[in-house]
């Protein structure tokens, strides 16, 4: 249908673009975040209705059917996914978006005569394909379908170089000739590049890579706006590309790492893998009852949750423990390290799911000055984020990363699965400190037993 003239079409696209800006702005602040997301969705709805009313379209029933299929696939998964698996889902949605952009560009190649437009076509195809394949690898790593350790094979840099060279060559031929054969070759090489780029990344860095690929997809969508002569795609894609880049940088620096180090660290040998060597130095271990007594008679307890809590799905149990302690008059807060869990902010989402009030969650800067007034720091399934080596050992892989200074609390209790070091692969001196006690076991089991013992006090 061509109900809307070009003027009205542009105007409605402008409305949608403004909605997207307001959405990103709203999402940056806790109070306005949910409204921001709703504004973004409204903007998307305006844009989709506008395209149906303005462009000259055939096959409308089939298109509506495809939209119904896409929604029917995505909505139930998005509604039902466990919060621990949410990073995978975000990565998956990002990947399919990149794939869609690449396909759109391939189909537009036939209508593109201008070499500049063809350049935008090859950019969209290549970046979209990299994002699709790269996201698929991150999903595999997060689901532990493939190893979370950096995967490398001999000669990988050479293969990567060959793939990049091939992709540039194919892209050149597509721009010069508009050939579909070269376009297909470019897509395949783009997929290969995506795989080779993300396979060498270690598990702990995967969240940063998801954010980076998110920015990539944004750029692919922006370029597709040039291909289709559509300003909305250009603006929305550029917004996501720019904000995604900033977000990636912020996340990486919260982990004390650089983006290039994450992407290419494994190639240079500075692997992101951890050692799995176990130490046999003596530690003080305790029973759940001992820990319950310590906690139950404390004045102030700070709980430091980490990856182990997320893996054990122990968020509800830890919330219950906090409530039980609060009922005994103990002041309980949670100290959240920016990169605790599998994604920055992941721990906040998990604890919010378990009904922990927002006010009880303290960020690093708020939590650290309070540790000297804290009787007990209860570290649940975290290690690297409290490792003093980040401050004291210049050679350590995590040196320079801000940590939660639990060592300043009166007592430190670790709930840990084993003595294995954290992902960074370095021993935590704090475990051997005289004021530290350890309770070994799965985080959820340990918490359940401690909770039972606290209730029995």
């Amino acid at each position: 249908m061509s109900v809307l003239g070009p003027g009205w079409t542009s105007l409605f696209y402008l409305v949608a673009a403004v909605c997207f800006i307001l959405a990103l702005k709203g999402l940056s602040s806790p109070r306005t975040a949910r409204r921001g997301n709703a504004i973004g969705a409204a903007g998307a709805l305006v844009a989709v209705v506008t395209v149906f009313l303005s462009a000259k379209l055939e096959n409308i029933p089939l298109i509506l059917g495809a939209i119904a299929v896409g929604s029917a696939l995505a909505v139930p998964v998005a509604r039902r996914v466990h919060m621990t698996q949410m990073p995978q889902l975000v990565a998956l949605f990002n990947g399919v978006g990149g794939g869609a952009a690449a396909l759109v560009a391939v189909l537009e190649l036939g209508h593109s005569e201008d070499p500049w437009v063809r350049l935008a076509v090859v950019f969209t195809m290549l970046v979209g394909a990299v994002s699709f394949a790269g996201s698929a690898v991150t999903v595999g790593k997060l689901q532990e379908l493939i190893s979370t350790r950096p995967l490398l094979f001999p000669g990988m840099p050479v293969v990567m170089g060959a793939v990049v060279f091939g992709a540039v060559t194919a892209a050149g031929f597509v721009v010069a000739t508009g050939s579909t054969g070269w376009a297909v070759a470019l897509l395949v090489l783009g997929l290969a590049a995506g795989l080779l780029l993300v396979l060498p990344v270690g598990g702990a860095d995967v969240p940063i890579v998801i954010s980076l690929l998110n920015a990539f997809t944004g750029l692919a969508v922006a370029a597709s706006g040039i291909v289709l002569g559509n300003v909305l795609l250009l603006v929305a894609g550029t917004l996501v590309g720019a904000s995604g880049t900033i977000l990636t940088k912020v996340m990486a620096s919260a982990m004390g790492r650089g983006v290039t180090g994450i992407m290419f660290g494994a190639f240079r040998g500075g692997s992101t893998a951890g050692s799995t060597a176990q130490s046999d130095r003596p530690v003080r271990s305790a029973s759940p009852e001992d820990v319950a007594v310590q906690l139950g008679y404390a004045q102030r307890v700070v709980i430091v949750p980490g990856y182990g809590l997320a893996v054990a799905q122990g968020q509800h149990t830890v919330a219950e423990l906090a409530t039980a302690l609060a009922a005994r008059g103990v002041e309980v807060v949670f100290a959240i390290h920016p990169v605790a869990g599998r994604m920055p902010g992941h721990m906040n989402v998990l604890l919010a799911e378990a009904n922990v009030p927002y006010e009880a969650l303290k960020e690093l800067e708020e939590a650290n000055p309070e540790f000297p007034n804290t009787d007990i720091a209860l570290v649940v399934g975290a290690n690297d984020v409290v490792n003093p080596a980040a401050k004291s050992t210049p050679g350590a892989p995590i040196y320079g990363m801000p940590i939660l200074e639990v060592a300043q609390a009166g007592q430190v209790v670790f709930l840990k699965r084993s003595m294995r070091p954290g992902f960074a692969g370095i021993e935590n001196e704090l475990l051997f400190d005289p004021k530290t006690t350890l309770l070994f076991g799965d985080a959820k089991d340990s918490l359940t037993r401690v909770l039972g013992a606290v209730k029995a006090l």
Partner: protein
Amino acid sequence: MMDPITLLTVVVLSVFVGFEVVSKVTSKLHTPLMSGANAIHGIILVGAIIVAGQASDPWLLTIALIAVVLATANLVGGFVVTDRMLEMFGGRKPARPRAGAGEDGA
């Protein structure tokens, strides 16, 4: 094809706006923000609808419809999952009527 200067203007301004709107975000909101931005680039659906609406032969139409399905999943699923994350953040009142330190970053 749009006028190159107009194009450049739009891109440069969008980059600055993109940098500006997220520059002061609290780390608590990194994941929802990433997820929300992820949903926004699902707007490639508009492009997929256009190519599907102009596809002339069945093969091209099939590929275009696949693109529509993928883009819809990105767009709709992205907004739904972001909303679910945020639903858990906001809504509930604290169980204990203890004065919190006040919301930061707001």
